[in-house]
């Protein structure tokens, strides 16, 4: 049996989540469901990013007694994608919050969350 490295599994999961999220955004008419779709896409992108930094058999990038500075480049998982991902998660959170805020306002003004109802401007 072929053993997939964790990064491959992560990549597949990440891209799978992105596609599921995208499907949610494009197929659901309810704004809240669409926002959940965006959340799934966000998570998917985060997983893909983390997966890009994975090194098979690598350890945490903390230089201490077990890991000398000389070995670091060969043995550690790339920390940069993780750092990027943390930033992206924070940003994703803020964006989701804004979207939810607008959804609330939308519901207050329109009494519906159907995206098809938002067609005052057109042409």
């Amino acid at each position: 049996m072929t053993v997939f490295p964790v990064s491959t599994v992560l990549m597949a999961t990440g891209f799978g989540l992105i596609l599921i999220g995208l499907a949610g955004v494009l197929l659901h008419r309810n704004v809240l469901r669409m926002i959940i779709g965006f959340g799934l896409m966000d998570s998917g992108v985060a997983i893909v990013l983390v997966a890009t930094g994975y090194v098979t058999g690598g350890t945490a990038p903390i230089i201490d007694a077990d890991l000398s500075a000389g070995d670091a480049t060969a043995r550690v998982v790339d920390p940069v994608p993780s750092a990027l991902t943390v930033t992206a998660i924070v940003i994703g959170l803020a964006v989701t919050a804004v979207m939810l805020a607008y959804a609330i306002r939308l519901y207050r003004t329109h009494g519906t969350l159907d995206i098809r109802a938002l067609r005052d401007s057109r042409g």
Binding site: L26, V45, V95
Partner: protein, 1028 residues
């Protein structure tokens, strides 16, 4: 001082003031409003100075400022760069952000969240400009996005909430795509430093990196709102508060466009796709703009178009390796859009609610009217603003690269943009006393005036940079501006007298050109001044009258004196704009004014396109370089000739002339018809001169037939008019046809004739329009059948009209005879018999319509009581008398004109003819076609008698006057308005096409998301197809 400032304000200050200020604002909010407002102003100003001062340092030192962070060098840490490009864009954005914060003050005031977001957003834009790290770019992109999302909450209407939701969703997808792309590129390269990516871009062809590059590009393009994936942005432009829409449209987009420009070298395989997408967006957004009623949405379409133009310029210039042209073209277009679009959005708010189609009586608020005109002129790429120079340079480069299709797209899109923006301006100008303008508070007026001033300064800077800031080209604007300023203090006849004296003095002071321009210059200056004298008859001329008259006449003088294509185009556009504003003075003339401007722009764009082809061929932009003896020059020459013919009212595109000349104020009609039309004729002569000297291409026969068709068509249509001014307008068209015909002879005799008719027509049409202005003043009607029996009441007017009609009719002994004789003899001499016969018919038609005008004035019982009538005002009569003297001089002392004409035309021009500048009589005796001339006249007489007889017997005898004046000389079916129908059909077709294209904007947010996704897939596909 500079050292202190540069120590205090460094690029990092942008982030310190932005983020630090952002954190402090909630605390200041607790302390009270004065603290909050003062703090915000301080932070925003500090941020702006942190870009302005370093910009000065970079300008002084010529070295970019490199900013390293975290004590490490890239790619280990993020670095920022503040070079000339970054500094110039960031500083412009920040200055405009300050102005827009002021304009948005009624929404920002007291709202600490909005103030915070505004500050952070501005900082984010700067970050996008300065950063050299791809992930950092993503972070700043998100800061800009989230700031935008928050500020969109300022719009509280139903539609605004909807628009914000759609905007958020679409841009979230775009940013996610960017993030994914960044991750993939990092995976492939191991770093995200933009400089290293650019240096190692050959390595980005590997599959993972290539996908990353495609995703990154997809996001950048999406943020620049390409067709059709831009519906989400349009809704926001429409519904957001105007100053906020302005901020998003110009400032936030600036960050995007800079990021795009920065990363563009990563996308060499995509240049074709980028160019095509931008061209499509520019064309379609301006097309759809035609169908917009909401000012915000209209400006949104215009903004999207302008962004596409920037993208197009970037892609094309990069593709052809003309990076050195990028700063001027792209930064010029950018600044132009930044300032003028910001101004337009804010102004749209200041005009009050209502669509772009409603009449607002904007004339009651001259300040706003001037600002609106100025911003519209700027955004349409007309002089003297930066967009004009940038567009010229862009078109020249496109021509060098052989991108004719793109030139057509750029010019067509610009034309459409001018159409809907000027239509908005003119509709707003239409009188309506019921429209209430909201008060324009100082916090709105100050930014507007500042934006206008910055536009003018940057326009002047462009003029200096391109070397076009010569006394000749600057004189019209300088004099116009001075007179407009003086007009605030002095009014009426005093200002008129000062204007005339200044024009005369400036015309005298400008260097006198040699050759053909040397003939036109004094002729048009003198003619223009004499006709302008009639303007003094008005008690209360419009505010625009005298400044614009000065611009008009002096720009016309500039057209005759310039040396390069750019200067010519500049002066040419000044003439068109000045004439346009003079026409708009009458409320009834607003629609004709729009038509006038549209056709003027068509003409100008044809000239530009043609010239660009020739300049690319010859490698020089000097006008003297136009004589290219090569078949490849034909398209360029034909385009230029077409432009001049549109402006010369050739049959077909002539429709603008009768409308504009008939509806313009009296003395403006005289000026346009007698003087301004000669500019196009000069162009044809000068261009033809170059062609002849170059040899080769011969299109003269076709040109001759165009001229003759115009003469015949104009005469027939003049005949069908019942309105005196329209009759004269069509008559002008007919006479212009004669001049074109004469020029087409491309020989010595033809050209002497052309110049002769130019002078003749100027004198005659000046008299006739002024005389008709006097008659209209007294009788109150332009209708021929409303006049009658004026010989007693207005003897002097009738006398001048008689002389003018005789002079024009080509009857001996007046000068028109000489012209006709010369023309017919030259035609026969050249063997163009068909044209000679057509010329004879045209002569007859000309006689007939002039007879109608004459009959309407002098014959029959007056409908209005002569007791009420009096002679025209002296100030209308004096110019007529002066022009009559001119006719006399040319009739009895022909040598005064013929001598210089002969001297001006190249002596070795036409070898078959010996021209000695003798008096007309001597020439008549020496040349045989005298019998032809007499035969033509005789035939005309016979025809006239026959026609009269038919007319008299065909109806109950109501007298000769009834036949001549009241009856329609031609049945309606014989004169179908084909040209008008054709153009109206085109106009409708454009509107229908716009309706078709805008169906894609259904308002459904999910459809918009699918289009966004589809666009990204298209980018990806383009990368797969493109040859690597």
């Amino acid at each position: 001082m500079m050292a202190l400032l540069s120590g205090l304000f460094q690029p990092m200050g942008i982030f310190l003031f932005g983020i630090g200020g952002g954190f402090l604002i909630p605390i200041l909010h607790r302390l009270g409003k004065p603290w909050l407002h003062g703090g915000f102003a301080l932070f925003l100003l500090g941020l702006t100075l942190s870009s302005l001062v370093p910009l000065l340092v970079v300008l002084r030192d010529g070295v970019p400022l490199e900013i390293l962070t975290a004590g490490a060098t890239p790619p280990l840490a993020i670095n920022l760069r503040f070079g000339l490009a970054e500094g110039a864009v960031a500083a412009s954005v920040n200055v405009v952000a300050c102005l827009l914060a002021m304009a948005l003050w009624d929404r920002l005031r007291g709202n600490h969240v909005a103030l915070l977001l505004f500050l952070i957003l501005t900082m984010g834009i700067n970050g996008m400009i300065l950063t050299r790290d791809a992930f950092n770019l993503f972070v700043f992109l998100e800061i800009v996005s989230i700031g935008t999302y928050g500020l969109l909450g300022l719009g509280t209407s139903r539609a605004a909430v909807q628009a914000a939701m759609k905007y958020v969703m679409a841009t979230v997808i775009a940013s996610m795509v960017f993030l994914l792309g960044t991750g993939l590129i990092y995976q492939a390269t191991g770093h995200l430093n933009i400089d290293l990516l650019l240096a190692g871009r050959d390595a980005l062809g590997a599959p993972i990196a290539a996908v990353g590059v495609a995703l990154m590009l997809g996001c950048l393009l999406l943020e620049l709102k390409p067709f059709p994936a831009n519906g989400w942005a349009l809704d926001v432009y429409e519904t957001a508060p105007p100053a906020l829409a302005a901020f998003l449209s110009v400032c936030a987009s600036a960050g995007m466009i800079f990021a795009f420009a920065k990363l563009l070298p990563l996308f060499p395989d995509y240049l074709g796709f980028i160019t095509a997408s931008a061209a499509l967006t520019f064309l379609l957004s301006n097309l759809i703009g035609l169908r917009q009623d909401s000012p915000g949405r209209l400006l949104g379409y215009s903004s999207i178009g302008q962004m596409a133009l920037l993208v197009l310029a970037l892609a094309v210039l990069t593709g052809m390796g003309a990076e050195d042209a990028l700063p001027f073209v792209v930064f010029g277009l950018f600044v132009n859009h930044l300032l003028s679009k910001a101004g337009l959005f804010v102004l749209a708010g200041a005009l009050g609610p209502g669509g772009v189609g409603i009449a607002r009586g904007l004339g009651r608020r001259p300040g706003l009217a001037v600002l609106l005109a100025l911003f519209v002129i700027a955004i349409c790429g007309l002089p003297p603003f930066p967009g004009f120079w940038a567009k010229w340079d862009l078109v020249m480069h496109l021509a060098m690269d052989g991108r004719t299709g793109l030139i057509a797209v750029v010019l067509a899109g610009s034309l459409l943009e001018a159409a809907y923006l000027f239509r908005w301006f003119l509709r707003a100008l239409a009188p309506n006393d019921d429209h209430a303008f909201p008060p324009t508070p100082a916090h709105v007026m100050v930014p507007l005036v500042a934006l206008a001033a910055l536009l003018m300064i940057s326009g002047l800077a462009c003029a200096i940079l391109t070397g076009t800031a010569t006394p000749v080209t600057l004189a019209p604007l300088a004099v116009g501006a001075a007179l407009a300023t003086l007009g605030q203090v002095v009014r009426g006849r005093v200002l008129g007298a000062v204007t005339l004296a200044t024009i005369a003095a400036t015309g005298w002071w400008l260097p006198m050109p040699d050759g053909i321009p040397g003939l036109f210059a004094p002729l048009l200056l003198a003619g223009g001044l004499v006709i302008a004298l009639s303007g003094l008859a008005q008690d209360a001329p419009g505010r625009l009258q005298y400044p614009m008259l000065a611009v008009l006449l002096l720009a016309l003088q500039a057209v005759l004196r310039v040396e390069t294509g750019l200067e010519f185009y500049l002066a040419w556009e000044f003439v068109a704009l000045a004439a346009f504003f003079l026409i708009t003075q009458r409320p009834q003339a607003l629609n004709p004014a729009l038509m006038f401007l549209m056709f003027s722009l068509v003409a100008a764009f044809l000239l530009l396109a043609g010239f660009a082809q020739l300049a690319a061929l010859s490698g020089t932009q000097v006008l003297a370089g136009l004589d290219i003896a090569h078949p490849a020059a034909l398209p360029g020459l034909v385009l230029m000739a077409a432009g001049l013919l549109v402006k010369g009212a050739a049959l077909g595109p002539h429709v603008w002339l009768p409308e504009a000349h008939a509806e313009a104020p009296g003395e403006v009609s005289a000026q346009l018809s007698a003087v301004v039309t000669k500019g196009a004729m000069f162009g044809l002569l000068a261009g033809g001169y170059a062609v002849i000297r170059a040899g080769g291409v011969d299109v003269s026969h076709a040109l001759a037939w165009i001229g003759m068709a115009t003469t015949l068509g104009g005469a027939l249509m003049a005949l069908a008019q019942t309105d005196a001014k329209r009759l004269l307008a069509y008559s002008s068209m007919s006479q212009l046809g004669y001049i074109v015909l004469a020029i087409a002879l491309m020989g010595h005799l033809g050209w002497v004739t052309a110049l002769y008719v130019v002078a003749n027509h100027m004198l005659v049409k000046g008299i006739l329009f002024l005389a008709v202005a006097g008659v209209v003043l007294r009788t109150g009607t332009r209708r021929l059948d409303g006049w009658g029996g004026l010989a007693g009441a207005m003897p002097l007017t009738c006398a001048t009209v008689t002389i003018a009609l005789l002079a024009m009719a080509g009857l001996p002994p007046l000068m028109g005879f000489g012209g006709k004789w010369l023309l017919l003899s030259a035609l026969v001499d050249k063997g163009w018999t068909g044209l000679a016969i057509a010329g004879a018919i045209a002569t007859f038609l000309g006689l007939w319509y002039m007879l109608r005008l004459f009959a309407a004035m002098v014959m029959g019982p007056p409908d209005s009581s002569p007791a009420r009538l009096g002679e025209a005002p002296a100030l209308l009569l004096v110019p007529q008398l002066l022009l009559v003297i001119g006719i006399g001089v040319m009739t009895f002392l022909p040598k005064t004109l013929m001598g210089p004409v002969s001297a001006a035309i190249d002596p070795d021009f036409a070898t078959t003819l010996v021209w000695e500048g003798r008096s007309l009589e001597a020439i008549y005796a020496a040349w045989w076609p005298m019998p032809t001339m007499l035969a033509a006249l005789g035939a005309s007489m016979v025809l006239a008698v026959l026609w009269l007889a038919v007319g008299l017997t065909g109806r109950t005898a109501t007298g000769l006057r009834a036949v001549l004046v009241t009856a329609r000389p031609l049945p309606a079916w014989a004169m179908p308005p084909l040209a008008m129908r054709g153009w109206a059909g085109m106009w409708r077709a454009a509107h229908d096409a716009a309706d078709g294209a805008r169906r894609v904007y259904s308002g459904d947010g999910q459809v918009y998301l699918m289009l966004v996704l589809g666009y990204i897939l298209a980018v990806f596909a383009a990368g797969q197809i493109a040859p690597s």
